[in-house]
């Protein structure tokens, strides 16, 4: 039972899925001999051959669109978009085709594909390599959007995504790819796609987050715990179709909620969660729902990148504000 990184867990799940199901095909730019620029597909070419581990021409729209064709023919394509900043060109195919194939044919054809892409800021890269398009994908009816935050959840949720009979956009927190290790058992057991994960139970405030920001949020929760503040930490994990019940139930207990995301503020996934609280959770709220998000700005180049990402101090300040509200 090995301690592995998140990107190794992705690799493990891919190998497992390809091994279990001959219909699973991996495709994308540099996924073959190179093993992907983050090495998520390392070794797959040698094990499964170039017909199932496919280096494509350089065209993300093609990668998404041909995955839809493959899926309609019953394959289970798992395509990689090298960085989520290059995933905007796939949105047309995802909205207009992947999300609709089943509905528009009344189930005659379907689209069991997974689109994987590294997501988020924090690795000091060139422009366009730090994007957080989660809200855009989460707005699309007919797909699922999954965003794991630990090696174990990456493994189990990716297996679930691949086995799911409908299209799944699978966002991987680039910043966490190698930040820490976790024991992951390669038992082929998928995690559910219809539930949030409560990572810490607590009574004073509910912290709702997903993706890489789960990391800092947990740190803050631990810090506060030492100071006697009890934080409940929820990793949303599946941003669509989202499990609001867990969040609502938690806030019903704590009465306070801070939502943490590294995406820009306006019309983000955080907005949806806060909005749901403003409707279905209003009576339970003891304090305003605070969102800790990136500002509505462009991710700066590396020299200022660290100021862009929300940090522990911001999360802490938001929690304090929430707790102090009377």
């Amino acid at each position: 039972m090995a301690q592995i990184t998140l990107v190794e867990a992705v690799n493990l799940a891919l190998a497992r899925a390809m091994n279990d199901d001959p219909e699973v095909v991996v495709l994308g730019e540099d996924v073959g001999r190179d093993g992907g620029v983050f090495r998520a597909t390392l070794g797959l070419l040698d094990t499964f051959g170039p017909e199932r581990v496919v280096d494509t021409p350089l065209a993300e729209n093609l990668i998404a669109g041909m995955s839809i064709g493959m899926a309609a023919e019953g394959l289970k394509p798992v395509c990689e978009i090298q960085f989520s900043g290059f995933s905007y060109t796939t949105i047309d195919q995802i909205v207009n085709h992947a999300a609709r194939m089943r509905h528009r044919t009344r189930g005659r054809l379907s689209c069991p594909m997974v689109l994987r892409t590294p997501c988020g800021a924090g690795i000091h890269p060139p422009e366009h390599h730090s994007e957080s398009p989660d809200a855009m994908f989460a707005h699309i009816p007919g797909i699922r959007v999954v965003y794991p935050s630990s090696p174990r959840r990456a493994y189990g949720l990716l297996l679930a995504a691949i086995r799911d009979p409908d299209p799944v956009v699978f966002l991987e927190p680039t910043r966490l790819y190698r930040l820490f290790k976790e024991e992951v058992v390669d038992d082929g057991v998928a995690l559910p796609l219809d539930t949030c994960f409560t990572l810490r139970e607590g009574t004073d405030v509910t912290l709702v987050t997903w993706g890489a920001m789960v990391y800092e949020t947990l740190q803050v929760a631990d810090e506060l715990s030492a100071q006697g503040v009890s934080c409940e930490v929820i990793d949303v994990a599946t941003l669509k179709i989202m499990d609001f019940d867990t969040i609502l139930a938690s806030v019903a207990r704590t009465g306070r909620c801070v939502i943490v995301t590294e995406a820009p503020h306006h019309c983000s996934v955080a907005s949806e969660i806060a909005a749901t609280l403003a409707d279905q959770g209003l009576l339970t709220l003891l304090a305003p729902v605070v969102r800790v998000t990136a500002a509505d700005i462009i991710v700066p180049l590396p020299r200022l990148e660290r100021h862009y990402l929300p940090d522990r101090a911001q999360i802490l300040a938001a929690i304090r504000k929430t707790l102090e509200f009377a």
Binding site: V25, E51, R52, V54, T56, P57, A59, N61, L62, A64, G65, M66, S67, I68, G69, M70, A71, A72, E73, G74, L75, P77, D92, Q93, N96, H97, R102, H103, R104, T105, R106, G107, R108, L109, S110, P141, G142, R144, D164, P165, D166, D194, I241, M242, D243, F244, D245
Partner: protein, 363 residues
């Protein structure tokens, strides 16, 4: 200065405008009687087309895109495909779909605004109509990739219009299909117009067939009003594809004799003389002349055919009209394979509302 590469684009035509053979006919056409089914299919398409427009004009159908003028294209393709092949079409390819086994009732259901029209009983792996121009080319690549991966002797046939050849999807697809030598035929119906935009505005390329050169695949231009030329080119391309020799791009030169759709008025942007000229080259007349000249078709055949087409179309239209409307639940089911608990309340509320209130919407 040396030569790195040279290329030639061929043009194929067998019948002239009056139905006379211009060249030795391919094997399938040496017995003129063998072309009668093509003619019959083309007349049925035209009858269906007229009915669809009539239904639209009388408020019984939604916006409809006429296939008038491309019957030779559709018959030429339809008769070249096998049931196990996969057809990826635009909104203007109902004729091929009919030959594939999609019923006219199903086609009308689709145009009538009911998703069940795309759940046709016939070619179960064929794609539904693609409205977003050229987007289906990418799907064709994936379909053909799956066929090749599984070592099947099947072929994907993907339709686009002249306008579609300006869109990145088209180029990315022919290029990728070429790189992987996939079993797919890309078929461009060059009907000279993309709504109001003429072919000359789309590209400086002398032919659309030559776009194949960018992908390193064979490209051929045919007379799209000549069913023999179309069928021959498609047969050849499918044979290549089926035996593992990769994709072909076919450009069929024809003319959109109708408005773009029933929502369009083409007289706003193109001269009546151009349309009148095009009528002289239309595909049915040409094939009918050929058959008549060959002595295998006469007025009696024609009348009998028209009668049977009319009654077939009439019956399909009636069956369409008699189809009960879709239940409101259709909005929700088949959105995902399994209904999500998290969305159940939302769906139930809307359904409840629809049942109690119908709708009071202005639209």
């Amino acid at each position: 200065m040396t030569t790195a590469a040279t290329f030639r684009i061929e043009y194929q035509q067998f019948l002239d405008e009056r139905g006379h053979a211009l060249a030795p006919l391919p094997a399938f056409a040496t017995d003129p009687a063998a072309l009668i089914p093509f003619y019959e299919a083309m007349v049925l398409m035209r009858t269906y087309d007229a009915k669809a427009i009539a239904l639209q004009r009388t408020g019984q159908l939604g916006t409809y895109a006429s296939l008038l003028g491309k019957e030779a294209v559709d018959a030429g393709i339809g008769y070249a495909m096998r049931p196990e092949d996969v057809f990826l079409c635009t909104y203007r390819d109902n004729g091929v779909q009919m030959l594939r086994g999609v019923t006219m009732r199903e086609l009308l259901l689709y145009w009538g605004g009911d998703e069940r029209g795309s759940d046709f009983a016939g070619p179960r792996r064929d794609f539904p109509v693609s409205i977003t121009i050229a987007s289906q080319c990418l799907h064709a690549v994936g379909v053909a990739y799956a066929m090749k991966l599984r070592k099947q002797a099947r072929v994907a046939v993907c339709m686009v219009g002249d306008g579609a050849t300006s869109k990145g999807d088209f180029y990315e697809s022919i290029n990728a299909a070429g790189a992987w030598k996939l079993p797919v035929v890309f078929f461009v119906t060059n009907n000279q117009w993309a709504i109001s935009v003429p072919r000359s505005t789309q590209s400086a390329a002398e032919t659309l067939a030559q776009k194949a050169i960018a992908a390193g695949i064979p490209g051929v231009q045919v007379d799209g009003n000549d069913v023999i030329a179309v069928h021959h080119a498609v047969q050849e391309a499918m044979m290549l594809a089926r035996k593992g020799d990769g994709p072909t791009l076919i450009e069929a030169v024809t003319y959109r004799l109708a408005d773009h759709t029933t929502a369009d008025d083409a007289s706003r942007y193109r001269p009546p003389e151009e349309v009148a000229e095009a009528w002289k080259r239309e595909p049915l007349l040409r094939l009918r002349n050929f058959l008549s000249n060959a002595g295998v078709w006469d007025k009696t055949h024609e009348e009998e055919l028209l009668r049977s087409c009319n009654s077939e179309v009439q019956a399909a239209a009636q069956a369409y009209i008699d189809t009960p409307p879709p239940p409101p639940e259709q909005m929700f089911d088949q959105l995902y394979a399994a209904p999500a608990a998290a969305q159940a309340a939302q769906h139930a509320a809307l359904l409840e509302h629809v049942k109690n209130h119908g709708t009071n919407h202005a639209g």
